[in-house]
């Protein structure tokens, strides 16, 4: 029982945190919450399944194909979302666009992945035995990769020239562009980074659980809740929000009722929005905060 809760906690926390981070990266550069982000999670998962399980190629081939393709898929999303948003000028254009992409992607994935359950092979099979139950190595790899990605992104954002440029563009894109900073390039780069992170989450995360080709929105919503709980626009908030939401969800599912997790997610979202809209660690944040 304890091992089950632990495995599920790591799975839900890590995938929620990674999705929250990818949503945050896009949000910080565009003020768009990309509800189609979970579709790249499914793309990463589906490609790992097709290449690794169906075509029986090794994980290096999976990585060589899936990583660039998910980053490019992020770039494609930037084109599909930002062109209508910029041209329409409507404050709700992003909602319509991102949800439309979600619906189209769901249908395409249902057609493309005829297997109802996608579960790529783990990078490392087996696990530690605790009280006769197995703590899979894969779940620990997922946790480690999640922490590394957050750490690396923090360094990138705060210590590199490109990262500082991204923050400046997010704070005031008009003024930043007058200094010759390629703001649109940074936005495109944000979508690519977000796609890459969601894709890696899909690949590594789905090896620990069965994922349906149409599950993308479920992971987006989990990431969205983690982002709100942690603090909208905050990288560290995404990590903390992911782990708070994931742990609570896993504990409630395993100790009270399997169906209560989703109810909890909806409830915590409402509570946070009403009583602490800035999130757990957020103060009243300003545009561009990371």
């Amino acid at each position: 029982m304890i091992v089950d809760v632990l495995v599920m906690t790591i799975f839900l926390s890590s995938t929620s945190a990674l999705m929250a981070l990818s949503l945050t990266i896009v949000y910080n550069s565009t003020r768009v919450i990309n509800f189609s982000q979970g579709e790249i999670f499914i793309l990463g998962c589906g490609m790992a399944y097709q290449i690794g399980v169906v075509m029986k190629l090794n994980m290096f081939v999976v990585a060589a194909v899936a990583i660039p393709v998910t980053a490019l898929a992020g770039l494609l999303l930037e084109r599909l979302i930002m062109i209508p948003v910029r041209r329409s000028g409507s404050p709700v254009a992003w909602i319509i666009t991102t949800l439309s992409i979600t619906l189209i992607s769901q249908s395409l994935f249902a057609l493309a992945f005829t297997s109802a359950q996608l579960r790529p092979d783990p990078l490392l099979a087996g696990g530690f035995k605790i009280n006769g139950q197995e703590l899979p190595y894969q779940i620990l790899i997922l946790l480690a990769v999640t922490l590394v990605i957050f750490f690396a992104y923090e360094i990138f954002l705060n210590k590199t020239t490109f990262g500082i440029g991204v923050r400046a563009a997010a704070t005031d894109p008009e003024t930043t562009s007058t200094f010759g900073v390629p703001v649109k390039l940074f936005v495109a780069g944000s979508f690519m980074a977000a796609g890459l992170i969601a894709g890696i989450g899909g690949w590594l995360g789905s090896s620990a659980a069965f994922v349906l080709p149409t599950d993308g929105l479920r992971f987006t919503v989990a990431g969205f809740v983690a982002m709100i709980v942690g603090g909208l626009g905050s990288t560290r908030g995404a990590l903390i929000g992911g782990f708070v939401v994931g742990a609570m969800d896993a504990i409630l599912r395993n100790t009270i009722n399997p169906g209560i997790g989703e109810l909890f997610i909806a409830a915590i979202l409402v509570i946070i929005l009403v009583f602490r809209p800035q999130g757990i660690i957020g103060a009243a944040r300003t545009r561009g905060d990371a």
Binding site: F35, T114, A208
Partner: protein, 411 residues
């Protein structure tokens, strides 16, 4: 505040999002000149989303049989059209489509909505409107009770449980437990499996409920490890996760289930853990190694027709081939047409009366119901557990999978 409102609105829309579209297809043949009104079969099933393939399979089989009738001159001289509605497994669309099809006077018979909860939600509408309907995937034992205009082509969950438990008793199983999701269907399974066990000398050791999105069902397997057999969820993805946990835990007993285990999606998900799983089902001759010429005539004919016209779908991992149709959907057309011919009318009440008195041999119905179809005044195509088939998934040494028939109908 505005930002939060926009985000919240987005979330609400996101949660409500479910792909759908209504589509309509018609037979290439035009209505016969002597027919004053069009004769239409309406289909209310999912054509989009993860079960979108299912609606298309139903439509393919219905179209194939309708085309055969049309080519032979039609039904009472009328050409049959097929009209589809995609419900996307969205409750609102299920109800909306039902209302629309019931209100369309040109629709003579409706198929769907499949799945017990959906059908139970709209069945009263059919009765009130006196609209003939034929159900091919509604398991609820009492779902069609006292329904005058509804006919069921699949076996109820009670019948399936009885057939499976009878087989298990004959195979020496002494204790039976279950692992499935906690929903209305599982509460029914609890009662029916316990009752069937008591009637056949098998001790029911209870059920464990699981989360369909969990990472493992190891805890539930651990609690039922001493059971000789465990009944697993009818939903193939959940069943696959349980099978995976059973294999990892070294469970020595038998994993059993109903026709939810028949599709390749169970084998795809569970992998080698599916090997040896036993399930009760309708005829799956085309999945087995039984030669076509030894299979019931109409079953073989319909299967060949589907393969020729609509092809097969192959499991990418398992290589299991599934025809792009479903014989039970074809049963609805064949039986409805036989009832219309017997009644010499399309009047719903007259056709329903003829349908309740219908008898067809096993060679005359596409799904090859064991012992043939005899409604005997009722509305169930299957009414004895002895009509059912028992199958086992076998993973061959060459890596291929096959469904092995371990018990045929004894009716």
């Amino acid at each position: 505040m505005k930002k939060i409102a926009i985000i919240s609105a987005g979330l609400v829309l996101a949660l409500a999002a479910c792909s759908s579209s209504s589509s309509s297809s018609e037979s290439a043949a035009t209505a016969a000149a002597k027919c004053e009104n069009p004769v239409t079969i309406g289909i209310n099933e999912p054509f989009s989303g993860p079960f979108g393939f299912y609606g298309q399979f139903v439509a393919n089989s219905v179209q194939l049989e309708a085309d055969a009738i049309n080519a032979a001159g039609g039904l009472l001289g009328c050409q049959i059209k097929v009209s589809t509605r995609d419900n996307g497994l969205d409750p609102a669309k299920v109800v909306g489509n039902t209302t629309e099809l019931i209100g369309d006077a040109s629709v003579n018979m409706v198929m769907g909505p499949s799945f017990t909860a959906f059908y139970d939600a709209v069945s009263a509408q059919y009765e009130e409107a006196k609209k003939l309907n034929c159900q091919i995937a509604v398991n609820g034992t009492d779902s069609l009770k006292d329904k005058a205009y509804a006919f069921r082509i699949n076996a109820s969950s009670k019948l399936t449980s009885e057939a499976l438990v009878k087989y298990l008793a004959s195979a020496g199983i002494k204790t039976l437990g279950a692992i499935y999701q906690n929903n209305g269907e599982s509460l029914t399974f609890d009662k029916e499996l316990a009752a069937a066990g008591a009637a056949n000398g098998i001790k029911w050791v209870g059920s464990q409920y699981v989360d369909p999105t969990a990472t493992s069902h190891a805890a539930q397997i651990a609690k039922l490890k001493s059971a000789d057999a465990i009944f697993i969820d009818p939903q193939s993805g959940v069943a696959a996760l349980t099978a995976d946990a059973a294999k990892k835990a070294g469970y020595k007993g038998l994993l059993v289930g109903n026709n939810g285990l028949q599709g390749f999606t169970y084998v795809e998900g569970a992998g080698d853990a599916a090997n040896g799983s036993v399930f009760a089902s309708n005829n799956l001759g085309s999945y087995t190694a039984i030669p076509t010429d030894q299979q019931p005539k109409k079953y073989a004919e319909h299967t060949a027709g589907i393969v020729a016209k609509f092809g097969v779908t192959t499991g990418p991992k398992s290589g299991v081939k599934m025809i792009n149709g479903t014989q039970q959907a074809a049963d609805c057309v064949v039986e409805w047409a036989a009832a219309v011919n017997a009644a010499k009318s399309f009047d719903a009440t007259a056709v329903a009366e003829a349908w309740r008195n219908l008898t067809l041999s096993q060679d005359e119905v596409p799904s090859a119901v064991g012992g043939g179809v005899n409604f005997a005044g009722g509305n169930e195509s299957w009414n004895k557990p002895e009509q059912m088939f028992i199958y086992k998934w076998v993973h061959n040494t060459d890596g291929s999978w096959v469904v092995e028939q371990i018990q045929g109908p004894t009716a």
